[in-house]
C-alpha cells in the first residue's frame, strides 16, 4: 500500500485537507465530531504525518544533533544516553555524529546541520588547537548550541562541564597523601582546555604540598592504544614514577597493561588514579581509584539546557555554565596496604 497522507485521508472522509490537518492540532476550530472521525480514520489507515513536509512548513525539525569525539567510549555513551532520555521524553529525535577527533569532520557536521535538519546541537568538541571561529561565521544565525565536557573557551555559548580543576587537585593530593613523590601526569592533549585545566590542578597540588614539579613527568600520549602502552613502559622504566595520574580513562588502562608487562606492581610499586566513569572500576586488578564523572547527568543537563534555549531563547544566558561535580573514589590502586 502506498503512503497515506492528508489528502488520502481527506478523500476517504470527503473532507478538505485543511479540515483534516486541523484535527491534528489542538487550537483550531473543529467540531468534536469530525475531529473524532478523522482521528479514527487516521488510526485505521495508520497515517503518519510526513515529517519533512511539516518541517519544511514549520521551519523546525524536532531533532537535535549530538556530536562527540568518539562513540565507542563508555563516557560518551553514557552522556548520549542521558541526552536521549531527555530528548525522547520531549518527543525529539537525536542525530548522532562522531568526529573521531578530526576537526574537519566537526566543521563539516556543524555546517551541514545548519540546513534545517536539526533545531539545536549538543557537542563535545574535537579541535581545541584549531580556529573555532567557524562557529561564528556561519552564514545564517547559529543554531542553539550547548557544549558539554570538552568546550571551546573562546566561543560564547552555554556549557555543562565538571569541576575538573578541583578533581585533579584532589586526585593529586590523594596520591601525595598516599606517599607518592614522583607523580606522572598522563596527558592526551595538552592544548585542550580540558587538558589544561586538569593539568593545572595537578601542578597546583604539587606546589601546595611542596613536591617539585618536573616537566619530564608530564607524559604526552597519543590516540593509539599500542603506541601508548609502549611509550608508557619506556617512560616508567626511565622515570621511575611512584604514582600515575591519568587525565582520561583509556590511559589508566594503558597504564595497567604497561605495568603488567614490566612487572610493576600496582599499588606497591606505583599507584594509579584516573578520570573514568567506568562502572566496573572496582572489578579491575587492582580495583582502580577513579575520579568518576557524572557522565549521564552531564548529557541530561546539557539536553535540558538546550531545550530551555529552544523554548525560551531569551531566558538563557549565553554565558551560562553549569558545573557538575565528579567524585573521588579511592580504591586499591592507590592503597597503602
Amino acid at each position: 500500500m502506498d503512503n497515506v497522507n492528508i489528502k488520502k485521508l481527506a478523500e476517504a472522509l470527503r473532507l478538505s485537507t485543511s479540515t483534516v490537518s486541523r484535527a491534528f492540532r489542538d487550537n483550531s476550530d473543529i467540531s468534536k465530531d469530525t475531529k473524532e472521525r478523522i482521528l479514527a480514520m487516521a488510526k485505521q489507515l495508520n497515517y503518519q504525518p510526513n515529517h519533512y513536509a511539516s518541517n519544511l512548513r514549520e521551519q523546525k525539525s524536532k531533532t537535535i544533533a549530538v556530536i562527540v569525539p568518539e562513540l565507542a567510549n563508555n563516557y560518551f555513551s553514557l552522556a548520549i544516553q542521558g541526552i536521549e532520555r531527555v530528548a525522547s521524553a520531549k518527543g525529539y529525535h537525536i542525530l548522532v555524529y562522531a568526529t573521531n577527533d578530526q576537526f574537519e569532520k566537526e566543521v563539516s557536521f556543524i555546517k551541514h546541520l545548519h540546513n534545517g535538519r536539526a533545531d539545536g546541537i549538543i557537542m563535545s568538541v574535537s579541535g581545541e588547537a584549531n580556529d573555532h571561529n567557524y562557529l561564528n561565521q556561519l552564514s545564517k544565525k547559529r543554531l542553539p548550541l550547548v557544549f558539554f565536557d570538552r568546550v571551546y573557551e573562546d566561543i560564547v555559548t552555554p556549557r555543562v562541564i565538571t569541576n575538573d580543576y578541583d578533581s585533579s587537585f584532589s586526585a593529586t593530593k590523594h596520591l601525595i597523601q598516599q606517599g607518592c613523590e614522583r607523580i606522572a601526569y598522563l596527558a592526551v592533549n595538552k592544548t585542550l582546555s580540558i587538558g589544561k585545566t586538569r593539568m593545572q590542578g595537578y601542578i597546583d597540588a604539587l606546589k601546595k604540598y611542596k613536591i617539585p614539579f618536573k616537566e619530564e613527568l608530564i607524559i604526552d600520549c597519543t590516540n593509539n592504544y599500542k603506541e601508548n602502552i609502549d611509550l608508557l613502559k619506556q617512560a616508567f622504566i626511565d622515570l621511575k614514577p611512584d604514582g600515575v595520574f591519568t587525565s582520561v580513562e583509556r590511559l589508566a588502562f594503558a597504564t595497567y597493561y604497561a605495568c603488567y608487562d614490566i612487572n610493576l606492581s600496582i599499588p606497591k610499586d606505583i599507584k594509579v588514579i584516573g578520570f573514568s566513569s567506568l562502572e566496573i572500576a572496582p572489578l579491575l586488578n587492582p580495583a582502580l581509584s577513579t575520579i568518576t564523572q557524572p557522565a549521564s547527568d552531564l548529557g541530561k543537563t546539557a539536553a535540558e539546557m538546550l531545550f530551555k534555549m529552544l523554548e525560551n531563547p531569551n531566558e538563557v544566558n549565553p554565558d551560562s555554565e553549569v558545573i557538575l561535580k565528579s567524585k573521588l573514589m579511592q580504591r586499591e590502586s592507590t592503597s597503602n596496604a
Copy 2:
C-alpha cells in the same frame, strides 16, 4: 543573516532557481562557466541546501535509524560506531533510538519512522515475547530493515548475527574441560531467541560430555544490577556451582561482585566465562574469560547490508543471514593454575 536558499543565490547571480539547482546535480545540462559561478557564490554565501525540502521532493532522507535496547552498553556502542562509520562514509546521517527494553517504545519508534524520516532501519530487537506482527502491518510498505544480534525469527528480513550456539557450546565445553561439573547458566531472558540459542549450546555441551543437566542451575536474572547480585549470592550459596556461564556481559560483572561478597574465589572455587566484548576483560580481577563478539563488525556488516538494500532492492534476499564468528578467549577466570 537569514537563510540562504536557492532563490537568494539565483537573485544574487541573476539566474533562475532552476539553473542554480542544476549546478548542484551532476547530470544536468549546464555550462561549465555558470556552474562554477554558482558554486563559487554558494560557497561564499555558505549555502546549505535545505534537507527537508530535498527530502520532500525526492522522497528520501539519506538518513538511517538505529534502534537498540540500550545505549549505555559497551556492546551496542561498538555496534553503533560500526554503523556510523559506514553511514558517514556514504554521506548518510544516523538517528539513534534506545528502547530501554520496552517493546512499546520499539513499536512506537518503528511506526513513527515510517513517515519518511529515515530510508532504512537497523535494529536489535527488544520484544521477543510480544507480537512482532506489527512489522508486517504497517500501512505502507515496510522500510528496509536489517536486524542485528537480537532478531525476531518470525519476521522475514535480512539479519546479521553471531554464531551463538557454537560459542555457547565451546564455552560450556571449556568449563567442563577445566573440571567443572556443576555449571550454572545465567540467563537474562529465556524467551529471547538469543537466550534460547545460547542456552541450547550449553545444554547440548553438557549432554555431549555426559554432565547431567539440572534445571535449577539455570538462573534467570533481571535487568536490575543490585537485584541480580543478591539473587546470585543466594544462588551460589544454595546451589554451589563450580562454574558459571553468563549469557550477557553484565551478568559476568554481577557474578564477580557476588563472589567478592561471599568470599568465593574465582577461579579456585568457581570458574566464570561470559559473552562480552569488553576490551579490558584482561584487566579484571581475575582476567575474565570471554566469548568476544565482533560488535563493531556486526554494526558495520548490518549497515553495509542495509545500503545494499537501498541501492539494489532486488539483489538482496530477504532471507539473507550473515553469521559472524565470536572468539573464545581463555583467561584467568577459568584457569586451573
